[in-house]
Symmetry: C2
Subunit: 190 residues, 2 copies
Amino acid sequence: MRPKNKLKLAKIRDAVVVLAGRGGLVGLSMNEIARKAGIATGTLYVYFAGKEELLRSVYWEIKQATAAAYFHRLDPTLPLKTRLRTIWMNALSHRREHYDEAVFTTQYYQSGLIGEEGRQETHRLFAALFDVLEEGRRHLILKEIDPILTACFLIAPAVEMAALERSGALTLTPQICETAWQLAWDAIKS
Amino acid sequence: MRPKNKLKLAKIRDAVVVLAGRGGLVGLSMNEIARKAGIATGTLYVYFAGKEELLRSVYWEIKQATAAAYFHRLDPTLPLKTRLRTIWMNALSHRREHYDEAVFTTQYYQSGLIGEEGRQETHRLFAALFDVLEEGRRHLILKEIDPILTACFLIAPAVEMAALERSGALTLTPQICETAWQLAWDAIKS
DNA sequence: GCCTAAAATGAATTAATGTTCATTTTGGAA
DNA sequence: TTCCAAAATGAACATTAATTCATTTTAGGC
């Protein structure tokens, strides 16, 4: 008769993400999560069967949102280079604006909690990127190499840039982001 | 009167690394470490004051070895491009051959255990790389951008390549490594 | 406004994990 | 060979964290 408070789910997710961003998955306790979310520990068990399910749920919520962000405003009629630039800028922006989420998902992915199936599913979420890279290779716009290798040189530096910005080692201006895109493009173009 | 068994230290380190490679820092218990190392839990406390000191010690041992590996056989009389290629290949090889260590150090770095001072010290270990990148920029061999950004595009893809190889998503042959170096070089060259 | 069933609570309980310690083992010195 | 001091052991202990549950609160139906 009494409905679940939708806001609480969001608060729980936020708490997990912020705490993971601070100290990683190590030492992330249900108690801390509840305190940060402003609810009682017992309430966590109204929404989730246990800690593992809670973390799993948060992981997939974030990953789906991240994948959506990568392909946001992607106009399929534009030239391939332009589309790739959009994806790259989306990826960089999303990482910068959701750095804590990235720390959480990276650690969850590397922990034993996810399982092989989960890893596969994670890759499937980003299949659209590989479609574009395949297309670029067919049209000889990109180098003739395994698209997975191309993706390495496209995405990994953007991820690292966001991490370095967070640590204070790198300052990112729109101009520097544009330059960085040039580097990424220089790497993968044929 | 009875000396510590030097071999045990190595076994402890190996146990930590292998277990971390499997399941990350989450759920890495002293009990498990001892079992994997083939010693009693109490013995861990003969060698280390506690879990934190154990992990810290392992972290620095690995990081120092990693930095040394990056700059292994680096002939300062060779041309800059050749020297960078050596560092890049060293980095890739070391990551591939010590993947579990990389998982451990990455997670330790992101956990609250390391502290700001530890992060700074970690960067200092790789200062020689930035020296080379600075030099390349001065001589207009590399793009005129912050060497930290250059380093992003040099190292991050190599790190990701090793991870993808481990997951089975990417096969690395000497030829593919050579091609990948070309991509890295294309990104950073002026 | 009352009733009800589910949400929410947080102290109590259970489970897991880090640390200690009384005891045994062992390598080297006398 | 004997002795000793330190290493090594692993069960016991202490601490911390996950989960449960008796109780209270609350949103919606009557």
